[in-house]
């Protein structure tokens, strides 16, 4: 059947993408979830994500949904946002949230980490120019604080400004008064995240063991 075929294809694709064994159980579970979300259609569109119940409480839901359609995350050649994604793309995005395998060597671990950070970077960098500018950072903080309607207007701005200052001083150090720090590039981003082990933090457990709960 089509399902088994695509399952098999996905297995092969994932193996190639992730270079590690992924059980077909996990893919089955994800496939079922995909069909639930897409109402049994072969592709997902942005509107389908509105049916996820708890997502509406999430302050950064727009960014999350957008991340699924971001061509850079889908490893496609073009830039910009896709209109719809199929199951393989869905799996590709999910693969960013794999937990680390115990038998990874140093180089694999490094690549793993860079991939995850790139995913995060793309979420911050909404205009796809490769740099997180002050405006984009401000928007991120505003979204994070969007769950609190009665906030002072300038609070998000100040926080973002302070954070950008800090980032600039970490990445560049001493700056002359007329130098301009354009924004956080990916390398700077890596520098900021240096102390934090993202590979242990950014994972979803279901990719590791048997799915425990099914959401309706």
């Amino acid at each position: 059947t089509g399902k088994a075929q695509s399952s098999g294809r996905c297995l092969g694709l994932l193996r190639a993408l992730l270079s590690s064994p992924v059980t077909s159980d996990q893919i089955e579970h994800l496939h079922r979830r995909f069909k639930q979300l897409s109402n049994d259609k072969p592709t997902l569109r942005k509107e389908h994500f509105d049916s996820v119940p708890d997502l509406e409480f999430n302050p950064i839901r727009c960014k999350i949904v957008q991340a699924f359609f971001d061509r850079r995350n889908l490893r496609q050649e073009e830039d910009g946002l896709a209109d719809e994604i199929n199951f393989e793309d869905f799996l590709t995005i999910m693969s960013y949230f794999r937990p680390i395998e115990p038998d990874m060597d140093e180089e694999q671990l490094q690549r793993f980490r860079t991939n995850k950070l790139k995913f995060l970077f793309h979420m911050y960098d909404s205009d796809h120019d490769g740099i997180i500018t002050l405006e984009e950072y401000r928007k991120v903080v505003e979204e994070l604080l969007s769950g609190n309607p009665h906030l002072e207007k300038g609070a998000a701005r100040s926080i973002a400004d302070g954070a950008m200052l800090e980032a600039a001083s970490i990445c560049v150090g001493q700056m002359e008064p007329n130098q301009v720090y354009e924004g956080i590039t990916f390398d700077d981003f890596l520098k900021i995240w240096r102390g934090i082990d993202i590979e242990t933090k950014m994972h979803v457990r279901f990719l590791n063991m048997e799915p425990i709960a099914h959401c309706c």
């Binding site: 708890d54 950064i60 994070l144 954070a163 933090k201 457990r205």
Partner: protein, 690 residues
């Protein structure tokens, strides 16, 4: 030559001091005091546990809670039964004279000595600065195993009096474990909530705020101990529960008081405990039996090692970050025994346990061994094995933003996948907390403050206080990066010299005025009547003033260096129109004002809107809350672009005569007002709307 303190941990030295003191007292002919159990459990132990519980790093604790619980519960049970059983076997061996010790007595002994002691662990681990994961694992285990110890202890103590132990008794004993631990936690949570609720209403009596924290925690401990529930767990639960709410409610001074009192009490307690241990060793009746003592020691070590190895093998199946053999070694090696075991044994009744002295001797030997040998050697071993040390990293605002972002992202992904995992439930708990709990337990506006803002304010306050302590304007720390707001604002328009060149003496005048007014930060020493102790609104104002000083200092710096105003990015057409317009673009702090002259800077011509924003951007640069142009509050140092009365005017140092009287209020903390125009109203400082 390395100093003594770098080789020998403090606990060892204290025990030695105790031994000396005990020996001295005995030599004089007096009877040295023994560490009485009531004193230990009622007065010496609670401060240490409260200190640990109140400042528990909650994030790491909850992340590793499963591991910690398994070590605490299963590990302690394993230790107790393994040790008890083997000791019984040893006692049965003929020729040792130990035949009279029954199985239950041995099991009781095993349960007393199997628990890892929080006091000893704290004392040793604090000094070696090991990485946070290991620290929280061993320390968490030592805290949570109290429930197991309490249950086993009381169980075996009672069983020893029974003729027969039936299965029902054993099952009841098993159930009582849940009652003891969960009951203790429940009691702690209740008292924690009450304490948080009380702190909501203490805004008028700031002085006794710390008292509530100590009082309610201690009552939680006593209440739990009264019902034979786990007092330690009650104490920790109450500290953990009350902390976020209490800290949002109490003043900064109370927070400092609590911190320092807890640290002081726990230090004193710890010192006394170890000294008393030494004295009790000298004073107590001992009964040395080679077989018993040596086999106890041996089996303790073996049990610990086997337990850790076995449990880690099991736990690593479920952990993302696996525990390496190095970690396992440190966990096993860090299983120190301490004064709790000693006191528990001391509580034993002589009639039913006539071998109490032998037990005591064995326990003291084990304690000495673990504290001295393991305590002294763990530091070189940590260095030898190159175990990861604690990273002294300051929490940065970037990290906070990224962590929150990641949390929300992972919650979102979990929702999309339909997997109700870790993040999902944590998010639900947070939302529940925000919606219902915070409203009840936190006073006023702070209940709605999101965590990011709270964190940011905390950081700012810390910086402001640091700046004050470093002596104010005079010093600019050289290590500070020279990155400032203008570096991160991209230049779009070409830079023009928009400000008129100020003549030299005008510059001097500016500088003098600023410096004079901003140096008045020394609080006049006043005799504190407890009714007039500085209350919160003034503290708020103090903070505001500090922040404002910071900004003015930055502004002054910039004015000194770059009179060329860098162009800024125009936000939006409406905003730039608002700037050109006549609305004063007031930089407005949140609350109250200071008696400073208003310095208005007038752009050379109204056609260069970008020049106006020097004030705005610089002042916003240190991250203070700014407000929209439309708000009418005008206070403090206001940078205001004025329409020039005639083109080319360059003298704009008019003190703000057009400003509202609110500008003329004096901050209570400033002792001398400094040169300023006459206040329009002679009223003392009135805090704005409490």
């Amino acid at each position: 030559i390395p100093s003594v303190s770098s080789i020998v941990p403090e606990s060892c030295l204290l025990i030695v001091v105790g031994l000396l003191v005990g020996g001295l007292i005995k030599g004089v002919g007096e009877k040295p005091p023994i560490l009485k159990s009531e004193i230990f459990f009622l007065f010496l132990l609670p401060p240490i546990i409260l200190d640990a519980g109140y400042f528990l790093p909650l994030r790491q604790f909850t992340e590793n809670l499963g591991t910690i619980l398994i070590f605490a519960v299963v590990g302690t049970l394993w230790n107790a039964f393994f040790l008890g059983g083997l000791m019984y076997a040893v006692c049965q061996i003929g020729g040792t004279g130990l035949n009279h010790i029954g199985l239950l007595a041995n099991l009781l002994f095993g349960s007393i000595i199997s628990a890892v002691d929080p006091v000893a662990v704290l004392a040793v681990f604090e000094e070696i600065h090991i990485n946070e994961l290991l620290h929280i694992l061993v320390f968490g285990e030592s805290l949570l195993n109290d429930a197991v110890t309490v249950v086993l202890y009381h169980l075996f103590e009672e069983f020893a009096n029974f003729e027969q132990v039936t299965i029902i008794d054993i099952i009841l004993g098993f159930l009582s474990f849940f009652v003891v631990s969960l009951g203790g936690v429940f009691v702690g949570v209740i008292y924690g909530v009450i304490a948080a609720f009380t702190s909501r209403f203490t805004s008028h009596i700031r002085v006794i705020e710390p008292l509530f924290v100590f009082l309610y925690s201690y009552m939680a401990y006593l209440s739990a101990e009264l019902f034979h529930l786990s007092g330690i767990m009650a104490l920790i639960a109450s500290g953990v529960v009350m902390r976020p709410y209490v800290e949002a409610n109490i003043s900064h001074k109370s927070h400092t008081t609590i911190k320092y009192f807890l640290k002081m009490w726990s230090s004193v307690s710890e010192t006394l405990i170890f000294i008393f241990l030494g004295v009790s060793t000298v004073a107590g009746h001992h009964y040395w039996n080679w077989t018993f003592v040596i086999s106890t020691l041996l089996f303790c070590l073996i049990a610990r090692v086997l337990g850790v190895l076995g449990l880690t093998w099991f736990i690593n199946k479920f952990r993302i970050v696996k525990l390496t053999p190095k970690d396992q070694f440190i966990i096993a090696y860090g299983g120190l025994r301490g004064a709790i075991a000693f006191s528990l044994c001391y509580l034993l009744d002589y009639e039913h346990f006539n071998m109490r002295d032998m037990f005591l001797t064995a326990i003291i030997t084990v304690i000495f061994f673990t504290v001295f040998v393991q305590g002294m050697t763990i530091r070189p071993l940590v260095d030898l094995l190159a175990v990861k040390k604690k990273q002294e990293s300051k929490r940065s605002i970037n990290e906070e933003i990224h962590t929150q972002f990641l949390d929300h992202l992972l919650t979102g992904i979990e929702d999309i996948c339909g997997h109700y995992g870790h993040h999902h439930w944590k998010d639900k708990l947070n939302r529940f907390n925000k919606k219902y709990v915070k409203k009840c337990l936190i006073a006023g506006e702070r209940s709605k403050e999101p965590q990011l803002i709270a964190f940011y304010h905390k950081m700012e306050m810390k910086q402001a206080i640091e700046m004050v302590e470093s002596g104010g304007i005079a010093k600019i720390p050289s290590a500070v990066s020279t990155v400032s707001m203008q570096n991160i604002q991209p230049k779009i328009l070409p830079v023009e010299r928009a400000l008129p060149a100020l003549s030299k003496d005008k510059e001097e005048e500016i500088r003098k005025i600023l410096r004079n007014n901003l140096q008045k930060t020394r609080q006049r020493l006043r005799s504190y009547n407890r009714h007039t102790l500085v209350a919160d609104p003034y503290e708020e104002a103090w903070n505001q003033m500090l922040l404002r000083r910071q900004k003015v200092r930055q502004m002054e710096q910039k004015m000194n260096n770059y009179l060329t105003v860098p162009a800024h990015k125009v936000d939006s057409p409406t905003m730039s129109r608002a700037r050109i317009g006549s609305d004063p673009l007031a930089y407005e702090p949140k609350a109250d004002s200071e008696n400073l002259p208003i310095i208005t800077i007038d752009p050379a011509s109204p056609q260069s809107p970008e020049s106006v924003d020097l004030a705005n951007e610089e002042l916003k640069g240190s991250g203070h809350v700014s407000s929209s142009p439309e708000e009418e509050e005008e206070e403090g140092l206001v940078m205001r672009p004025k329409e020039p009365s005639s083109p080319g005017t360059d003298d704009v140092f008019t003190p703000g005569a057009s400003d509202s009287p609110s500008n003329q209020r004096m901050l209570r903390c400033l002792s001398d007002p400094g040169p300023r125009p006459e206040p329009e109203e002679g009223e003392p400082f009135i805090p704005k709307g409490q």
